[in-house]
Amino acid sequence: MLGKDYIRVLHINLTDEKVSVEERKDLFHLLGGTGVASKLLEENMRPDLPPLHEDQPIIFAIGPLSTIFPVATKTVATFISPLTGEYGESHAGGRSAMAIRNAGYDAIVITGRANKPTYLSITDHSVEFKDARGLWGLDVEETGRIIREREGIPGKRSIMRIGVSGENLVSFAGVNVDTYRHFGRLGLGAVFGSKQLKAIAITGETDIPVTDFKSYYSTFRWLYKKVVETDLMSKYHEIGTPINIKVLNAISSLPTKNLQQSTFEHADDISGETFAQDTLVRKVSCVGCPIGCIHVGQFRRLFDKGYEYESLAVSYDHELIYSLGSLLGTPTASEVLELIDEVEETGLDAMSTGVALAWATEALEKDILSIEQTLVPLAFGNTENYKKAIHYIAERTNDFYRTLGEGLTHATEAYGGKEFALVYGGNEMAGYHTGYAFALGQTVGGRHSHLCNAGYQYDQSAKELNDEEIVDYLIKEEKERCMLTSLVICLFARKVYDRETVLKALNAIDMPFTDEDLDKMAEETFFTRLRIKQKLGYSLENEKFPKRAFETPTRWGKMDEERMNKLLHMYVERLKAEYDRYSTAQ
């Protein structure tokens, strides 16, 4: 809590509608975000029960810098992932962190299961359990509109909600936050669905006094200048992350048509430059971020004769253009936007959805699947059929789509085709076929995200590949990111928030942490995540890489499977040694 020496945790039980608040001094050294949310997950989870059991918790946490310093915009959610069965962590921005702060909490723990569809209304003075039976079955946009008309202070509230995919417990359903932001990856939406929790509206006006005005305001202004007036972040505003499409295409790293290729003949047609020139109508921000990285593209489509057009405004970024674009062979920017819109409304994770559909397309080509199963002739570049298939996944239309909705690990156990299923660490791959560090990084990352340790950066910037160096880099980077996502800053701002800056910001709000304190909390958080994974029965040693990864060139040419397995082995050994050292020191 700002100005206090504890973390203020709100506990909500959906089963008996009981609410309590605790002040946790013992968590204060973990800052917030990942540090606090992982610890609260470890305390509240039930390793003996399945991920979607009602006793499993959902945790949200913000951090000390949230909202009050530039680009500290995100809320961290932790849960047990229905996709992987182990540690789940996902981050979202929008207005969520601001709303939780103004409601007066640092963290929220939700357990139990409502006896009917429910949404939560959390304010600075109450928690209400509201009837959401009429909302069950509605899409994300409509759900948002209705709750917006009923709850909170305009501009000062945040609304998280699930679509049909979350209600139907699709293992990679996400939670949409406000407009255009999401808790994606690993299936938080299904955890909401399993609790009959359709949405959470949060708002508040808790008065949080500035403790040391001079120190805070000057540091705030200094950081604002650093963000706005230097080159550190402008690239995220300009073309934004979709600048990657042309780059990755030129260095054989753009996963295309289920990674049968790593270059795409239509790369120029779906490049960031094309999106900007032909579709971009607006850029917006999360609260507390002067960058404006959320790129909104617009397209129109005919829905009836007589020039009856509808127009849709959809946000796009690299991961979506990869997963619903190049990976599915989608040839134009407007078709990519159409697919994004379908994923948005059904509340699915875009990456897992694209990867699942790309696999299904190839499996159908190879006669592993039949059209009776896929219902439509899935084919690379056929947007209309993919639009239908997205709904089939969300609605779990038949046995095949029901199984596909469990994720590719499950689907390949049922149907085969594992060798071309693009899964790393149980999670569908992100859009960087750059080489060993990416592939290893997503596999070993605490939340199996490319953002855990940014292996794709190593692959790009290394002058030559060095296996020891890759392992060192991934571990070091992941620890540092454990600290950054505890503050909680958006990882786009990681170059702004070097150690000196972090310490200065913390000092300005009367949190005199030292470099050593940050090292310690980063290590503790890194190993808490690891311990949770172990308790949930996860072991890195069982990880296998998809054959396809070795058949298609990366920036470093084709990867060698043996070397990749050796790297994984090295990583596992290093981790064991580090964990032993850490445990002994405790």
Partner: protein, 74 residues
């Protein structure tokens, strides 16, 4: 010698422009970048016919070069 340079949009902020560049014989990739006044730390890849070049690689007359930033993420 003369090489043809195609710069990604990303580099427009540095005022560098695509087009033909004259360089002394034996010039390297690093020489080209310094001529273009593009900060080397911002350059991800210099590509010639699909191959990523090193900073120390020598250029040849008539080369077509594509200059790209790093792909970014979080």
């Amino acid at each position: 010698m003369t090489v043809t340079v195609q710069l990604n949009d990303y580099f427009s902020r540095y005022g560098a422009q695509s087009g033909k560049v004259s360089l002394p014989d034996g010039a390297t990739v690093a020489d080209l970048l310094s001529y273009l006044k593009v900060p080397p730390s911002e350059v991800g890849f210099v590509i010639k016919t699909g191959q990523v070049l090193k900073e120390t690689d020598k250029l040849d007359d008539g080369d077509n070069l594509l200059i790209l930033p790093f792909a970014m993420g979080g």
